[in-house]
């Protein structure tokens, strides 16, 4: 029988203990780090130490999916999983070299701030705000869902209640502390999650390869001296599975996805704003380096865990003798002899993450690729992280720690996204576009209200996940790669880049990429077309109010009403339904996840061509670009006479 603590099964007790304990810690930090000014609220007063900002960035960056699913994704896809490992780390090199120090020198609060000022255009600012909001909402819905699932699986509470508890915790420290509260909470969350991830991995590595470092175990040998990877590859092919070392995706698709993820990482607003919080430009570079160190700790451990866990699963579960007695809890697996299914298998069967159906009635578990003979009817990829403590023979409290780590990963990412949404609404939309004479106090109030509103939407999306949440990777990274990255990069490195080029590049990159992803992931049904019309209508309406004083914008108002009507038509099914695209229609064989790479190239091309065809940006903007390129606040470029445009 399972051990109990205070009348609860020990796993449940320790899970509750760590979850409640860490949540208390986060709230305590939030109370300590209350934000008093807009500077505190948006950028933590610009005085976060680069190493701490690195940790916070790492926690912000690594979501529930990185923590719980990454090892499982790599374990099931082998070489193909490399796109995530390289794609979600390589973007930091682009950030450190190409964007972070210059954006920090620019010294404002948000990404739309940079776009609006550099391109001297309210329209560009509005387009950037809409992009930031869309990307962040897609992303946060997935995080909230992750929080709900973690709660329901491990604490036995309903998904809905889990989502609400998680959302209230995030809301508490985001509203109270803003970026300052979030930053220091994320530092704590990083410590929790990395400890929870590496400790079981070390024990797993010891028990399977005899070396404590998972990164060395990855290239190590099994007990009989064959390399672990070669052994796994051979075993998998014997069971009918695809090769671990070769992968299924075409080379061009692997290339495109890696580009889209790397460039998308560098263009994601919740990552970029983290570098506004350090004191100066050189710290932004260092901080990106530290962030990658902290991320790499998990990202180089994950592929090792993937190999250990899948090898171990085949070794100990495949062909093992399943006992109904143990499943009922009347006996321990250790009493069932050599070939018995390990105890952890029964424990996780109760959560529904594993399911076994004895199709051939031989009392043994057959794990095969062929769905006819495979008896593992459900094998959730998250099991490869969650079951590690038990597989490694660690005590029950380590499982509790892993659950707390998964929640820390989800909450820290959700908080970072919440910050982008809140600042986009209060600072970029309200202060800079709609109500220009707001005071700092009013802006802070709106920021807090916007955070509350965003959490309510996130709760709803977490409980009833809309279809596009499943395509979050394609959407968030593809759109960031095709809109923000080109416009920021060219804004820093090409003085001649002007507002016409920026607006055209963002809009065309964004719409082609979004259309491709929707066509192949969701399909343009009548309702989807209606929603697209609604988004266009809202953008036009904001443009109308934001640009009113600069000229006649009645056409935009009329346009927004027309698109509003199209939206209603779409919802009532009046618009045509187009069939969803299939993989053999992919452009150049590039999947929707990788299309951001092509969207980026299109965006660059359009930006450059349109800029060259229109007039150069004003001289003060060109001088601003020079200032951004100088890390020192005290150094200025002298221009004797009128400097000619570059």
């Amino acid at each position: 029988m399972e051990a109990t603590v205070l009348g609860l099964p020990s796993t449940l007790f320790w899970t509750a203990f760590f979850v409640i304990g860490t949540f208390g810690l986060y709230i305590g930090i939030a109370v300590w780090a209350r934000a008093a000014s807009t500077d505190d609220f948006y950028v933590a007063g610009h005085d976060v130490h680069p190493v701490f900002n690195g940790m916070a960035t790492a926690a912000d960056w690594m979501s529930a999916a990185s923590f719980l699913s990454m090892a499982g994704i790599v374990a099931f896809s082998g070489y193909d999983g490399s796109v995530y490992l390289m794609g979600w780390t390589g973007g930091y090199v682009l950030l450190a070299l190409l964007l972070a120090p210059y954006l920090r020198k620019f010294g404002k609060f948000t990404v739309p701030d940079f776009v609006g000022d550099r391109y001297y255009s309210q329209a560009a600012r509005i387009v950037a705000v809409i992009c930031a909001l869309f990307i962040s909402f897609t992303y946060i819905a997935g995080q909230m869902r992750g929080v709900g699932i973690a709660f329901s699986n491990f604490l036995g509470v309903d998904i809905t209640i889990g989502v609400i508890i998680g959302a209230i915790i995030v809301l508490f420290y985001a509203v109270l502390g803003g970026m300052k509260g979030i930053t220091y909470t994320q530092v704590a969350q990083y410590c929790v999650l990395i400890f929870a991830y590496t400790v079981p991995a070390i024990f797993l590595s010891l028990s399977i390869t005899g070396t404590p470092l998972p990164q060395l175990g990855f290239i190590g040998n099994t007990a009989d001296g064959t390399p672990l990877l070669v052994d796994l590859d051979r075993t998998l092919s014997e069971l009918g599975f695809a090769s671990y070392l070769d992968g299924q995706k075409s080379m061009i698709d692997v290339f495109a996805i890696t580009v889209a993820l790397m460039v998308g990482t560098a263009g994601l607003p919740h990552v970029i704003i983290r570098f506004f919080t350090v004191p100066k430009a050189s710290d932004a570079r260092k901080s990106a380096g530290w962030a990658l160190v902290f991320i790499a700790l998990l990202y180089t451990t994950a592929p090792a865990v993937a190999v250990f866990a899948r090898s171990n699963f085949i070794e100990t579960v495949n062909e093992s003798v399943y006992s109904e007695e143990v499943a009922r809890g009347d006996a321990r697996a250790s009493a069932m002899g050599e070939d018995a299914t390990p105890q952890w298998f029964y424990n996780w069967e109760n959560t529904g993450l594993l399911e076994f159906t004895d199709k051939n009635g031989d009392g043994r578990i057959q794990y095969r690729a062929d769905p006819e003979t495979n008896e593992m009817t459900r094998l959730d990829r998250d099991i490869f992280v969650l079951a590690n403590p038990e597989i490694g023979g660690l005590p029950g409290w380590v499982i509790g720690l892993v659950v707390a780590g998964g929640l820390a990963a989800a909450l820290s990412t959700a908080a970072g996204l919440l910050m982008v949404i809140s600042s986009a609404v209060s600072h970029d939309l309200c202060r800079k576009v709609l109500f220009k004479n707001m005071s700092d106090t009013q802006e802070l109030l709106v920021a807090r209200l916007a955070a509350v509103g965003a959490v309510l939407v996130a709760i709803y999306a977490g409980i009833n996940p809309p279809g596009f949440v499943a395509a979050v990777v394609a959407f968030a990274f593809g759109l960031a790669a095709a809109s923000f990255f080109p416009v920021i990069f060219l804004g820093i490195f090409w003085k001649r880049m002007n507002k016409e080029g920026a607006i055209a590049g963002m809009l065309i990159g964004l719409s082609i990429t979004a259309a491709y992803i929707v066509h192949f992931k969701i399909g343009f049904s009548s309702v989807v077309l209606g929603v697209v019309a609604l988004i266009i209508g809202i953008v036009l309406l904001i443009m109308h109010f934001g640009l009113k004083e600069q000229g006649d914008t009645r056409a935009m108002l009329i346009g927004s009403i027309v698109f509003g009507l199209i939206f209603l038509g779409g919802v009532f099914g009046v618009l045509p339904d187009f069939a969803i695209g299939t993989a053999n229609q992919w452009f150049l064989g590039v999947s929707p996840e990788g299309f951001g790479a092509i969207g980026m190239v299109i965006s660059f091309a359009v930006s450059i061509i349109v800029s060259l065809a229109t007039k150069a940006p004003p001289e003060d903007v060109q001088n601003m670009v020079e200032e951004i390129r100088l890390p020192s606040k005290a150094a200025h470029v002298s221009h004797p006479g009128a400097a000619p445009a570059e």
């Binding site: 090199v93 070299l97 430009a281 050189s282 390129r629 020192s632």
Partner: protein, 108 residues
């Protein structure tokens, strides 16, 4: 890179005390040095990930590191280590370039 400074004369320093002006030609040299360094590091960035891990992995897989084929290892481990090193190398070398051209932010 030549260390020579070209005083362009004319404009006196403006702004708060402690500010200093740098000539346009010095600024261009500084930026050129930055772009060169960046170009070299980004080339390495591209080679270890897209080159070793994707395009030429079949060739690299003929070799192995420990028990892992080399191309596969670069795609799942090696590239990430190189990424980390690249950022710290850039950070250190860029700081030297900035000091040389007197545009560093050591004083804020």
């Amino acid at each position: 890179m030549a260390e020579t400074d070209h005083p362009t004369g004319g404009e006196p320093p403006k702004g708060p005390p402690g500010d200093h002006m740098i000539s346009e030609s010095k600024f261009k040299k500084y930026w050129r040095a930055n772009l060169n360094l960046m170009g070299v590091l980004l080339a390495i960035w591209f080679i270890v990930s897209y080159g070793f891990g994707i395009l030429f992995r079949d060739v690299l897989d003929n070799f192995s590191i420990g028990g892992a084929p080399l191309g596969f290892w670069f795609a799942q481990q090696g590239a990430i280590y190189v990424f980390v090193i690249l950022i710290f190398v850039y950070s250190a070398m860029m700081h030297r370039i900035e000091q040389k051209f007197d545009v560093d932010d050591d004083e804020g």
